[in-house]
């Protein structure tokens, strides 16, 4: 049973989803979905705890690698799976009241099935060691997230979902073209096997084209500036619960796939020395951070504000990846984790506002600090994390990034990072001011505090950003182990 754990992470939710459509009773399905999510979370915890004995490689159907599909679990994939399944579980625990209000009852069991499929796809992208499998799981998670986004209450939701579908499919198809060209050159789809065969064909133009297609494809999925245009609308018009889950996890898993692409399949030598991808990444991320943060300041819808902030935060992760040393990579990976918690938590706060106030326009939220004190306070704490104030999770990863930039003597990058944090102060403070220091709008005046069933999960996530800000053994510590093993693999590849 224990050695089957890697495959169970995928099989349990994948089998559960169609079953839940057949069951169709929304209360029962909700309960079972929560059960499945927490079970999967338990499995990923046990997988991560077994990492101290070395990485796990699971051969599907007993076909030996590289002929069959391999699921490989190492520090990085176990870590990403842990927070993806963890947030999926906590968000679905938080969800029932919000979904009741925002999604029509007849669609509930379909909603939960799509939610599980989305989680399956994201976890599958993390665990699989087969490149084509990454594409399939990418499409499973994308298709289900398009469906989830289109369930939003306003009529703009289907349009936002369709735009995301078109751009997302172009991105995924780019990725598929890249896989095809790689397969053409190496004759294998197994990631480790491709890596070992790439040395021989590294200098060919096909390799460059393959790498370019895959990079651009993943950039679209990551919502890197300037390919982020799908994200603000998709996040704004999706149901609150969907935004919580997708904003916290989906883009990060694409970042994870990008890290795998650079550090495991191609080598950093190929991406950063033969090609100037590190400078390009740095430029894209810094411009993205500034433009998106500035755009966030001018938004009048709180969800759209956070969506632009997400685009900016992806920049910090890529900045860490582009540094290509243990410090930078650790910062990038731990920022994936920290930002997932912070943004997940903040969107959960927004979900509470949506439930009680019914509008997400900033002018309607005026004065909500008096009628919804607990929810508003959660915003303050989460916002501090987003800015990167000491004692919060956001501080840990930004500090790591800063020290890494300084050790590489990238002074302009360090200065720009600090300046960009000031922009975050502005857009977080704007909301705080509206919540606490403005005369109450009539919607906020009559609002009640959010129900405990939603506040407790929100506070667990928001509280954990404080916990992981002070105690970093299991966040930055694991991220560092993952970074070291990635760079270790790539160094060994360079020697051969």
């Amino acid at each position: 049973m224990i050695e089957q754990l890697p495959v169970l992470v995928i099989v349990i939710p994948l089998m559960a989803a169609p079953l839940f459509v057949l069951i169709g009773n929304r209360k029962l399905v909700l309960l079972l979905t929560q059960l499945v999510c927490w079970t999967v979370f338990g499995i990923t915890v046990s997988l991560l705890s077994r990492m101290q004995y070395g990485p796990i490689s699971y051969e599907l159907g007993g076909w030996p690698s590289p002929y069959g599909i391999v699921y490989s679990v190492d520090y990085l994939s176990a870590f990403v799976m842990l927070f993806v399944s963890g947030l999926a579980a906590i968000v679905i625990t938080y969800a029932p009241k919000s979904i009741d209000q925002e999604v029509h009852h007849s669609k509930h069991s379909l909603f939960y099935a799509s939610y599980l499929l989305c989680m399956t796809g994201l976890l599958g992208m993390c665990i699989t060691g087969d490149l084509f499998n990454v594409f399939v799981f990418l499409e499973i998670s994308s298709l289900s997230s398009y469906a989830l986004i289109s369930l939003g209450k306003t009529r703009r939701a289907p349009l936002a979902a369709l735009h995301y579908l078109i751009i997302g499919t172009v991105g995924a198809t780019f990725f598929l073209i890249g896989i095809g060209l790689l397969y053409q050159m190496t004759g294998t789809l197994n990631m480790a096997d491709i890596a070992s065969r790439l040395q021989a064909v590294e200098s060919s133009r096909t390799m460059l084209v393959a790498f370019a297609f895959m990079t651009v494809g993943l950039f679209i999925k990551m919502a890197v500036f300037p390919l982020h245009t799908w994200l603000p609308n998709a996040y704004t018009y999706a149901p609150s619960v969907v935004t919580c889950f997708i904003a916290a996890t989906a883009t990060k898993v694409s970042v994870y796939a990008f890290i795998r692409l650079i550090y495991v399949i191609f080598t950093p030598q190929f991406a950063f020395e033969r090609l100037p991808l590190d400078q390009a990444l740095m430029a894209f991320s810094l411009v993205g951070i500034f433009v998106a943060s500035t755009a966030a300041i001018y938004q009048t819808n709180i969800k759209r504000l956070l969506a632009y902030s997400s685009v900016a935060q992806i920049g910090y992760m890529l900045l860490g990846i582009s540094m290509s040393n243990v410090g930078g990579l650790t910062a990038g990976i731990s920022h994936m984790f920290n930002h997932a918690l912070i943004k997940g938590g903040l969107f959960m706060v927004v979900g509470c506002f949506a439930l009680r106030i019914g509008s997400l326009k900033l002018e309607d939220l005026r004065g909500a600090g008096k009628t919804m004190p607990l929810t508003s306070f959660a915003w303050v704490v989460g916002g501090l994390g987003l800015i990167g104030v000491p004692m919060t999770a956001g501080f840990v990863s930004k500090w790591l990034l800063l020290t890494s930039a300084l050790s590489l003597e990238l002074w302009p990058v360090a200065v720009l990072m600090l300046l960009s944090s000031l922009l975050a102060v502005v857009y977080i403070w704007r909301v705080v001011e509206i919540l606490y220091f403005s005369p109450a709008s009539h919607l906020a005046q009559t609002a009640k505090e959010a129900p405990m069933a939603m506040l407790i999960p929100t506070y667990i996530v928001i509280g954990s950003t404080i916990v992981f800000g002070c105690w970093t053994v299991y966040s930055a510590g694991i991220a560092q182990a993952a970074a070291k093993s990635l760079l270790g693999i790539s160094q060994a590849g360079g020697i051969q």
């Binding site: 289109s150 979902a161 579908l165 198809t173 598929l176």
Partner: protein
């Protein structure tokens, strides 16, 4: 010159890819955009299938006479015993391959198999996209993107 003409499959791939991509970018009609997306995906199917083709290669079906595991039709009943012997030898690892077997060249089946999956993904994407277009039309009464955006701006 022969190099350029010999790669004609790839030229078709590039032509289809660019056509599809252009339609996705340039068309305002949502259905046309989806059709463009389909053309774009189809070009990738062709790319994969082209790369699986080996010159003079045939369909990758192992014939029994080449040490395969099934009774070939052409073998007939009388060859059954001999065939069994052959299988046994194959298991031991020193089967004497006939001249036929050396000549036989197979195409690579894996790209085609991958494309079966990609076609399924493509159909799912198209179905979902069309379903969304239906909902958009119910809400807005039109499927022209500029008109929809205009309505959103005014509301």
């Amino acid at each position: 010159m022969t190099e350029i003409l010999g790669l004609y499959n790839y030229w078709i791939v590039i032509f289809l890819m660019m056509t599809g991509f252009y339609i996705v970018i340039a068309r305002e009609n949502l259905i046309k955009t989806i059709i463009g997306l389909n053309i774009f995906q189809t070009s990738v199917f062709l790319l994969y299938i082209t790369m699986g083709k080996v010159t003079h290669g045939t369909a990758p079906i192992l014939k029994a006479s080449h040490g395969g595991e099934s009774h070939g039709v052409e073998h007939g009943v009388e060859h059954g015993a001999e065939h069994g012997h052959e299988l046994h030898a194959a298991a031991e690892g020193h089967v004497d391959l006939g001249v036929d077997a050396v000549k036989e060249v197979y195409s690579n089946p894996i790209p085609s198999v991958l494309m079966l999956t990609a076609i399924v993904v493509g159909i799912a994407t198209t179905a979902l996209a069309l379903a969304l277009v239906v909902r958009i039309r119910e809400e807005y009464g039109t499927i022209e993107e500029d008109e929809i955006l205009e309505m959103d701006r005014n509301s």
